[in-house]
């Protein structure tokens, strides 16, 4: 299942061959995990589309809450002029991070907006004024140039973490957890392995895939820096075996650095932190625990590229690559866009919506958030915009559970989703706890599979909220 970097001279077909063999030496895991589902991935829509650079928009809207954890508070005033990349917000707690102007311009009056995830948040709008690099120049500015793989010992582990915090980095894979909290030296929980997550297991999305093809060098440099900060001796880039060109690209870029590329099985949710660790290293992260509990730090490939830029060039996170894809978009594309641009502007840039477009989803179709207002701003964690058509979303009418157990067969956490869902429908907190409701991470495999079309994830979500409320007393 695995291709090690030492074999980097291999031609593509040989990498393909290696990926098909079951297990290569050096990994404890067998490249997969129990259960999970195989939804149609529809990556063909956008995987051939090179990343295009969005022309600087007229305005952006930056949410003051971009990440899991605390929001940031503004350090600028309305009508103040800011430069591209200037600090406009600072974190309010440790699990919180900074915010920077993603375009040069004038700060407008703060306003409340509904984000794609449904939360009403205070935002800072910026009216664009002044010049910043555009097109190919912007790409070169962010991902181009030379990315060193040697001499990184000169960077102090603590300083790397501070630079990451100063750049406002959050996990770009979707969860948007502040990166400096994970990538920091720790004596309490020593880290032996850094896993760079290049699985991108959500259907449709191709932004990480394109980045691995088009900018592998900063990913490698960022991974080396992050590993230096956490003190990991081993670095593994985990990629699903439906992205072999990315495997090849990363192998080439990582040659001679000691970074390994682990090819894992294509299966949803392979990109889940716990499941990728299990597939590669066979460690089970304890319930309610973190990867650090088994000596692992994990971060997404796009985050690694941003780490490299933050540490080496001291540049903040202002742009990210977003897949604008789905059958409801005229020209599915991968776009380098500033944080805070509206999803509507991205859709317009990609040719608009098709006539049968029916649902806009921030993220991928399995875990993403549906929203209806095209002015909704892009946040740091948004890796994609998937527009689905009426045919794709037409769900059958809900019927009663026939206890077929298909949800049990696919649950990657080995839970009994129907029992938990019914317990939370009947507001039975004790029963939902007995069935380990809090272990659910809402991947959606159960609801995807359910022949009775029961909204299992939604019911479990409501149940979890009830359990949390009960715990608070």
């Amino acid at each position: 299942m695995f291709q090690r970097v030492e074999n980097v001279d291999h031609k593509k077909n040989e990498i393909h061959g290696a990926a098909m063999t079951l297990k290569l030496k050096g990994y404890a895991g067998n490249g997969t995990f129990a259960h999970g589902v195989h939804p149609p991935d529809h990556k063909d829509l956008a995987k051939g589309a090179s990343i295009r650079v969005l022309p600087t928009p007229d305005a952006v809207v930056l949410s003051l809450h971009q990440n899991i954890g605390g929001p940031c508070e503004p350090v600028v005033k309305a009508r103040q002029t800011v430069a591209w990349g200037e600090l406009i917000g600072k974190g309010t707690s440790f699990v919180s991070t900074t915010l920077h102007a993603s375009v040069p311009g004038v700060i407008q009056r703060p306003m409340r907006m509904t984000l794609a995830n449904g939360r009403h948040m205070e935002t800072l709008p910026i009216q664009t004024e002044g010049e910043m690099p555009a097109g190919r120049d912007l790409w070169e500015e962010i991902y181009g140039g030379h990315w060193p793989t040697n001499g990184l010992d000169a960077y102090d582990p603590q300083q790397i973490s501070r630079d990451i915090s100063a750049a406002g980095l959050v996990g770009l894979g979707g969860a948007a957890f502040p990166t400096h909290v994970k990538i920091t030296p720790s004596d309490k929980k020593p880290i032996h392995t850094l896993i760079v997550n290049g699985c991108e297991c959500e259907p449709y999305l191709t932004s990480d895939y394109r980045l691995m093809l088009e900018a592998p060098a900063p990913i490698v440099t960022g991974a080396l820096l992050a590993a230096r900060s956490v003190g990991a001796e081993r670095i593994v880039i985990g990629i699903e075996d439906n992205k072999l060109p990315a495997v090849e690209s990363m192998c080439k870029a990582a040659a001679g650095t000691g970074i390994e590329v682990g090819v894992v099985k294509t299966k949803y949710p392979q990109g889940s932190e716990k499941h990728l660790i299990y597939a590669l290293l066979k460690h089970q992260v304890p319930l309610g625990g973190l990867p650090a509990d088994v000596g692992v730090a994990m971060s997404n490939v796009a985050t690694m590229a941003a780490v490299a830029r933050a540490v080496i060039h001291h540049k903040p996170l202002t742009h990210r690559v977003i897949s604008v894809t789905g059958k409801g978009v005229v020209n599915p594309s991968n776009v380098l866009a500033p944080i805070g641009v509206s999803f509507g502007a991205l859709i317009d840039y990609c040719g608009g919506l098709t006539a049968d477009a029916a649902r806009m989803v921030a993220g991928g179709p399995m875990m993403g958030f549906a929203f209806s207002n095209p002015n909704t701003p892009v946040t740091k964690g948004a890796g994609g915009l998937t527009v689905m058509t009426a045919d794709e979303i037409r769900a059958g009418e809900e019927s009663t559970c026939v206890r077929c157990g298909k949800c049990v067969d696919v649950c990657p956490m080995n839970l009994v989703p129907t029992k938990i869902a019914m317990a939370s429908r009947h507001q039975n907190i004790a029963l939902s706890r007995r069935y380990n409701i809090m272990a659910c991470f809402e991947c959606g495999s159960c609801a995807y599979t359910c022949p009775a079309h029961i909204p299992l994830v939604q019911l479990i979500r409501a149940g979890k909220a009830r359990v949390v409320a009960a715990d608070r007393g």
């Binding site: 859709i347 317009d348 040719g351 919506l353 080995n414 029992k419």
Partner: protein, 325 residues
């Protein structure tokens, strides 16, 4: 944001809903039922071949009875009609296949009404029932019309259909120690409940269900393992009368029960481990009833008893979550 089709006057209608936004379109409860119907084809075909008019008559009475009972009782409860989910049709066919061809029409009708009414709708309809509806109906008539469903009720010496003029293999052995040829049990040219006689037909249907993953392999495997183990033991320690473990497996309704009755998802456990325990328990009870009770066969009571244990089995087999100890 304009729709590209200029004839569309407005922006497309955008829906919002919670994730996941993809559904597996190929799967629905109705399709599961249709799968069972497809799997029942060889069984039904074989029963028509062996029992001719008896099978046709019983199928008509039971499926008609179940469909009408479903319409009637669901309406009485003021619920939306559920005939379209095909579950009443499945119950009807399984009920017909579990009755003797010679049973009079009112037995089938009463069994159908009890199966749907008491077995299912009273509990709240499909998915809510505790006991396998077809088996509830059958148990009711078996006790109410002891004569018609006792071993002698299967036989009609004047019948022109060969199979019906013989004793059932299970009863012939129980009463007289007569051992039926394995070949006849395999092909199904013996007397018995309509669907149980042909081991081959049950295998074919069961294989289809397993390949389609409509039923899980754990229940039939557990059941057949338990029957084989205890049957083998009885073979070893019992008298050498020629009734072997293979007769236990191929004779009676073990195979029909293993693939079509015990596997009813509603009344069996949820987890793979629970399903296996359920299968083992059912197989064990079948053999206990066969060897030690007055009845020649025990599939129906074994399944009903295990149905009653299902909630407990579910409780005992809550799986350990990934990362838990």
């Amino acid at each position: 944001m304009q729709a590209t089709d200029s004839k569309q006057p407005a922006v497309p209608v955008i829906h919002v809903a919670p994730s996941p936004h993809l559904v597996q379109t190929a799967s629905s409860t109705r399709w599961m039922m249709v799968d069972v119907l497809i799997a029942l084809t060889p069984v039904v075909a074989m029963s028509l071949f062996v029992f001719r008019g008896y099978a046709l008559f019983q199928l008509a009475v039971c499926t008609g009875g179940c469909l009408l009972a479903e319409l009637l009782f669901v309406r009485m409860r003021g619920r939306p009609a559920t005939v379209k989910d095909c579950s009443a049709l499945v119950t009807g066919i399984i009920l017909a296949m579990s009755l003797p061809g010679t049973a009079p029409w009112y037995v089938g009708v009463i069994a159908a009404c009890v199966a749907i009414g008491v077995g299912k709708v009273i509990f709240g309809g499909l998915g809510m029932n505790l006991f396998n509806p077809a088996m509830v109906g059958r148990a009711f008539v078996m006790i109410s019309f002891a004569g018609a469903l006792a071993a002698s009720g299967f036989e009609d010496l004047r019948s022109v259909v060969d199979a019906v003029s013989q004793a059932t293999p299970m009863n012939a052995y129980k009463m007289n120690g007569v051992v039926t040829d394995l070949g006849n049990l395999f092909w199904g040219t013996t007397n018995g409940s309509l669907g149980e006689t042909s081991a081959l037909a049950c295998f074919l249907g069961g294989l289809y269900l397993l390949v389609r993953r409509t039923v899980s392999w754990e229940i039939p495997t557990g059941l057949l393992l338990a029957v084989a183990a205890i049957g083998g033991l009885a073979d070893l320690v019992g008298p050498a009368d020629g009734w072997t473990v293979l007769h236990h497996l191929l004779g009676g309704s073990v195979l029909f029960g293993a693939f079509f009755i015990a596997t009813d998802p509603v009344t069996s456990p949820l987890t793979p481990k629970g399903k296996f325990i359920f299968g083992l328990g059912a197989g064990l009870l079948i053999m206990v009833l066969r060897l030690f009770s007055g009845y020649p066969e025990g599939v129906m009571f074994a399944v009903l008893f295990m149905n009653a244990l299902t909630p407990l089995i579910n409780r005992w087999t809550i799986p350990t979550p990934f990362g838990g100890n």
